[in-house]
Symmetry: C2
Subunit: 127 residues, 2 copies
């Protein structure tokens, strides 16, 4: 099975939209102000919720994770330097970590304290 929805929870959706759209350049698929931002990834979705709203009963079961989680998006090894420069150019603190010779991860935080990572699939032995 493949992942179809990866979720993060944030305290401030407007700050999140500025970050995920403006800094990471992800493609916004849909939004409900105050509740969620849905981003289209390659073959799956990144769903960003305000947990105070996603916890409300509705058509589908409520859920309410918390900020401070983690997700990783794939980049190529060749993009690592470019992404580090871009993120630091936005004033972000970036931690770079080498997984032996399999590739390097870039770690940084979104405005709500979620720990994001950009890494090549090779760190997991994936194509």
């Amino acid at each position: 099975m493949r992942a179809l929805e990866t979720c993060l929870y944030v305290a401030d959706l407007e700050a999140a939209e500025a970050f995920y759209s403006g800094v990471l350049g992800l493609r916004l698929y849909g939004k409900v102000p105050g509740r969620h931002l849905f981003y289209r990834l390659e073959g799956s979705m990144l769903l960003i919720f305000d947990p105070s709203m996603s916890a409300q009963p509705g058509d589908v079961p409520p859920h309410a994770g918390k900020p401070g989680g983690h997700a990783c998006l794939a980049i190529t090894r060749e993009e690592t330097d470019t992404w580090q420069a871009l993120l630091e150019g936005h004033g972000l603190s970036v931690t770079r970590y080498a997984w032996g010779n399999r590739g390097e991860s870039l770690y940084f935080e979104d405005p709500s304290g979620n720990v994001l990572e950009l890494a090549p699939p090779g760190i997991w032995g994936l194509e």
Copy 2:
């Protein structure tokens, strides 16, 4: 960019392993007892952490989401009935929701209260 790591946080890793390996049948890629379970998905990883341990400083930045989050894994439309029967056969309460004519989602909880979903990619207009 595609999702490379989808994370969930649990209160009991042993119960989580019985569930994700035994009920969902995911392939365990690695584990550190008391800290995490790493599952291999198609093209990405599902990482399940005990947040009390993932919050400890280490080689890579700590993170500590909370149980009660959400993730969705892809199934085919034709598998929906089979999965519902399998999950209910394990005693799980399953909520089935139709997204118009694009497909149906199955919602259920893992032992730590994360809301899991199985759905065909078509609910998002994906292949």
